[in-house]
């Protein structure tokens, strides 16, 4: 039951992008085409799950016993940066077209606050355990994917729309994101 609540809360109620404002950069940056946003979602799912697993274990078995938990921010960001490099190398080998599409944005996952944010938030879960933390990470990356892909498909339609000159580009995208966030607000009572 706990797990179902975590899943629903992460995907709909406290959606990581639309209500917690983590990962806005890739949300605005790679959302102009559905295909790239799908790739980005995959990369985030992969990185976020591994990063949370590693950082959770690191925090539990290294930082806390040694009493260095104030170094959490530094260690976590280093682990994430290393992981992103790894994903980049793997993608280059396994799927060159995807690497081509994501090339510029992959290093940006390092500075994607969603990944670090989820890794830190996962430590604060009630009755936390490794399984729960990993499940939390997966749920959140699904929430990220949902928001990103829905947003990208709306943006594809926007290209054909007749938009006032001053609203073109960033403002209209922010407005769309605002309306999307408003729609997700409707899920509030769900959990």
């Amino acid at each position: 039951m706990d797990y179902i609540i975590i899943l629903i809360a992460a995907v709909f109620v406290n959606n990581i992008v639309l209500s917690q404002f983590l990962g806005i950069c890739p949300f605005l940056g790679v959302s102009n085409k559905v295909s790239t946003s799908v790739g980005m979602s995959g990369a985030v799912l992969f990185v976020m799950t591994i990063a949370t697993t590693v950082t959770y274990l690191l925090n539990q078995y290294v930082l806390i016993p040694v009493g260095l938990d104030y170094l959490r921010t530094i260690t976590f960001i280093l682990v994430i940066a290393a992981l992103v490099q790894m994903v980049e190398i793997i993608l280059k080998k396994v799927s060159p077209p995807l690497y081509q599409a994501l090339g510029v944005f992959l290093p940006l996952i390092t500075t994607n606050c969603a990944v670090l944010g989820v890794a830190i938030l996962a430590l604060g879960l009630e009755n936390g355990s490794l399984v729960k933390a990993v499940f939390f990470a997966i749920s959140n990356s699904l929430g990220f994917s949902l928001a990103l892909i829905v947003f990208a498909s709306i943006r594809e339609h926007l290209e054909l729309a007749n938009i006032p000159e001053g609203m073109k580009g960033v403002p209209i995208n922010l407005l769309v994101a605002g309306l999307l966030s408003l729609a997700f607000l409707g899920f509030t009572a769900l959990v």
């Binding site: 806005i24 921010t73 976590f76 500075t111 944010g117």
Partner: protein
């Protein structure tokens, strides 16, 4: 001439290359913590401090760091200062620390800071880097405070915690909720673009 350049380094961050309205960097804290003017200002100042310190250190050690590992090195420098800010805030302004919550450690991944370290401080001397950091930082503080004020005025009828509307008055609660952040920023960007395109 040199003085002119410093002035330019300083001023460009405030208007021409404003990190929020023009470059769209550091959007997460911008949207996440600006439900009131005070939070926006606090976040802005914390970021300004980290930006300034990391710009200084990066420009000092730029020749010692091999090009290949410069990004991880920058991140460590930035993360150290973020940890300092985290401790200072927790010790002296616990209320703000609680309000900003997760967004304090997340200053590490604020693209503005790494962006300035990479694009400016790693190529320029200390003085220019200080002015660059101050300009960018103040541009960021201004943007956050304005956004926070707009949201607080519309959403809770107050400014910096001072209520000026009677309690019974209806306010746009929407603006202190998440969607309000996007909508307020969208319109502020329109206004900002309008104003800057006229003056230049």
């Amino acid at each position: 001439m040199a003085e002119m350049n410093q002035k330019q380094n300083f001023l460009k961050g405030i208007i021409k290359e404003n990190p929020i309205f023009v470059m769209l960097l550091g959007m997460c804290p911008t949207l996440g913590v600006t439900s009131s003017a005070f939070n926006g200002l606090g976040m802005g100042v914390a970021t300004l401090f980290v930006l300034l310190m990391s710009n200084i250190v990066v420009s000092l050690v730029k020749n010692l760091i091999p090009a290949k590992v410069r990004i991880p090195a920058f991140i460590i420098i930035i993360a150290s200062f973020v940890t300092i800010v985290e401790m200072i805030l927790e010790a002296f302004v616990p209320l703000l620390y609680e309000q900003l919550g997760i967004f304090i450690p997340l200053i590490v991944v604020n693209c503005i800071i790494l962006g300035r370290a990479e694009a400016f401080a790693s190529k320029n001397n200390v003085m220019s880097s200080i002015f660059d950091a101050l300009g960018m930082g103040i541009g960021f503080v201004l943007a956050l405070t304005i956004l926070g004020s707009v949201r607080e005025i519309l959403g809770s009828g107050s400014l910096f915690g001072l209520t000026f509307l009677p309690e019974t008055a209806n306010t746009f609660i929407l603006f202190i909720l998440p969607p309000g952040a996007f909508i307020a920023l969208a319109y502020l960007t329109v206004i900002f673009n309008r104003l800057t395109s006229k003056t230049t």
